[in-house]
């Protein structure tokens, strides 16, 4: 497992390693090159020395004076690296010889140079110098010492530069980490890191960090908005539950009122007449019994009608189109009001879920009930249409209209321009339209109401894929 080190330590190590490697390589290369150059220079010096001494020995060779030659060779004693000098004649025989006295430097690699001597273009002889380059090695050693001192000085400078550089790089990173800690501790996504301004990569990192914070802040804002919307929806659901409870109570009250107004009255009167009729076994008693039985039959019929209105069997047995026809006929006959039903041509079957069928029927019943009860219309119309995407129900009349125009969807209710706000609660518009709106909204549908002094047209549009459940 890699050992964790701070960026300061890594920077320092990297810089020092790089500096040391650079110094070592450059020193070695420079030393090798200098050694080569110094060796070449020493050899060149030896060649020059051989040429000078050899030329000085020319007359000794020409005039056959080995003593003179030896005296010239002896002048090489001052050249400490020269160990031996030999003067050869044109035939290659030794003419004179000189050797460095004992005690001279014997260290270093041995080298030899030979210089040919000529006179008037003809070979005259040669001089051979043998030397040891110990002096050269001493110079290289001095050079290495100087290089080591230079390396030490460079290391000190590199250390100072590394410390300065690591401050420049590590400090902003530490500041970035501190900012991240503050963001985490304070849960404050509005914090930002100022740009560094001197190191491009750090600026890129800071920009990325700030962009990340901005993204998180934006996402948190959206989450808060969604939470608020969810809270609103929950509140609305709670209100809806209350409203539905009220609506249920209202429906119960209306049902109780209907039961009380007719079937219950008739049942009570039938009971009274049957008791009286059975108590007097004469013609009057029989008449009372027959009247009681008639009342009993009427009450049963009204109860059946009420049952049909609440949940007509035809809806479950024959589907929504047949149920709408039954509703129009039943309500029209009761109110003495012609209510036409427009359906698609026979054969165009519709495949609705039970939820959709029941909801549309209940809405139609509510609208027809309103039409009969409040519209003061001379006629009414129910129209059911559908296509692949939606099913539409429209109930219209030529009555006096009412005070509101409503166009609402499952998500919103938008008043028409110049019109009052839409009905949004039982208190504002009665349970009828409010109940319809809420039911339609539950199925992601849309309710649109157009009303005026010449009539009312209420249309309901449901998506075909809404309200999963059994089909009719």
């Amino acid at each position: 497992m890699a050992r964790t080190r701070s960026i300061r330590t890594r920077l320092l190590l990297a810089l020092l390693t790089m500096t040391l490697l650079t110094l070592a390589v450059s020193t070695l290369l420079s030393a090798a090159l200098d050694l080569r150059l110094m060796r070449a220079s020493a050899l060149r010096d030896l060649e020059i020395l051989a040429a000078v001494v050899g030329e000085n020995c020319t007359s000794a060779l020409v005039f056959d004076s080995p003593d003179t030659a030896a005296r010239h060779l002896a002048t090489l004693a001052a050249e400490r690296q020269v160990q031996r000098a030999e003067l050869l004649d044109a035939a290659g025989r030794r003419f004179a010889l000189w050797q460095q006295p004992a005690g001279g430097p014997a260290a270093g690699p041995a080298v030899a140079v030979r210089h040919e001597l000529h006179l008037d273009g003809a070979p005259l002889g040669a001089i051979v110098l043998q030397a040891r380059l110990g002096e050269l090695h001493r110079q290289v050693l001095h050079y290495l010492w100087l290089s080591a001192l230079l390396a030490l000085a460079t290391l000190v400078v590199a250390l100072l530069v590394a410390l300065r550089l690591q401050r420049r790089i590590a400090a902003p990173l530490s500041s970035l980490a501190e900012t991240a800690r503050q963001v985490s501790a304070q849960q404050d996504l509005s914090l930002r890191m100022p740009p560094h301004g001197r190191v491009a990569e750090l600026d890129d990192l800071i920009d990325a960090f700030n962009s990340m914070l901005a993204g998180l802040e934006s996402r948190e804002g959206r989450i808060q908005q969604q939470a608020a919307a969810l809270h609103t929806a929950n509140t609305k659901l709670r209100a809806l539950a209350v409203d539905l409870s009220l609506l249920e109570q209202s429906e119960k009250a209306r049902l109780a009122e209907q039961l009380h107004d007719s079937p219950m009255q008739k049942l009570a009167l039938a009971l009274l007449q049957l008791e009286n009729g059975l108590a007097e076994p004469d013609a009057e008693g029989r008449q009372l019994t027959d009247s009681g039985l008639t009342l009993l039959r009427e009450a049963i019929g009204e109860l059946r009608t009420l049952q049909f209105e609440l949940s007509p069997p035809v809806l479950a047995q024959s589907g929504l189109p047949a149920a709408l026809q039954w509703l129009a006929k039943r309500m029209g006959e009761r109110a003495g009001l012609p209510i036409a039903v427009h359906l698609p041509a026979a054969g165009e079957g519709i495949d609705l879920s039970r939820t959709q069928s029941v909801t549309l029927f209940q809405c139609a019943r509510e609208l027809v009930y309103n039409l009969v009860k409040h519209a003061e219309a001379s006629r009414g119309r129910i129209e059911l249409t559908w296509d692949a995407a939606r099913v539409a129900l429209e109930v219209a009349d030529d009555g006096v209209g009412f005070a509101h125009t409503m166009d609402t969807t499952a998500a919103s209710a938008t008043p028409h321009p110049g019109q009052p706000a839409p009905v949004s609660s039982p208190a504002a518009g009665g349970f009828g339209l409010y109940s319809i709106r809420e039911r339609v909204a539950l199925l992601d549908g849309r309710l649109r109401i157009h009303t005026g002094p010449h009539g009312t047209r209420v249309s309901i549009h449901l998506p075909r894929d809404s309200g999963a459940g059994s089909t009719t």
Partner: protein, 171 residues
């Protein structure tokens, strides 16, 4: 070495028979490598006049047959006394030592190198005088020469220090 030098400069049969004579011819020629004559003093040829030593003259005449040049001129050998004044080298053999005063007077202050092989002449006005010295290590003798720098003064001859190195200096 000696034989090689001799063969190089004295192809003649007489020089081969007399090694010392051959060495003298060789040395005489080799002096021209270490002495420079003024250009205006040299004519169309580099002249060497030999007086009082016919054998030397004969041996030197071999140089005329070679392509050897001194300061860009071919070598001419003369044995006429009248050519002494116009020569660049005047060799005074043993047979001409009696003419030394007259020759000195005639060539005074002229760029003429006076060479001899008679003992004592270096102190009598000759610039270079050959002599033989026994070799310390060997059994034979070596041909050496003496130089009297005083006798070179005023002759406008430029003499290399290397020539002094191998010579015996006399005054």
């Amino acid at each position: 070495m000696l034989l090689l030098a001799l063969a190089a400069v004295t192809p003649g049969a007489r020089a081969a028979d007399d090694p010392v004579l051959g060495l003298k011819v060789a040395y005489l020629y080799n002096f021209t490598h270490f002495i420079t004559w003024p250009e205006d003093a040299i004519g169309s040829h580099f002249r060497i006049t030999v007086l009082g030593d016919p054998a030397m003259a004969t041996a030197l005449q071999a140089l005329e047959q070679t392509d050897r040049q001194v300061q860009g001129r071919h070598i001419r050998i003369s044995t006429a006394a009248g050519d002494a004044v116009g020569s660049q080298i005047l060799f005074i053999g043993a047979g001409a030592t009696g003419q030394l005063p007259a020759l000195l007077e005639a060539t005074a202050a002229r760029p003429v190198l006076l060479v001899a092989d008679t003992p004592g002449l270096a102190r009598r006005g000759v610039a270079i005088n050959f002599f033989l010295r026994r070799d310390i290590l060997g059994e034979g003798q070596r041909l050496r020469f003496k130089i009297n720098p005083d006798n070179l003064n005023g002759r406008r001859l430029s003499v290399s220090a290397q020539l002094y190195d191998v010579a015996e200096i006399v005054r």
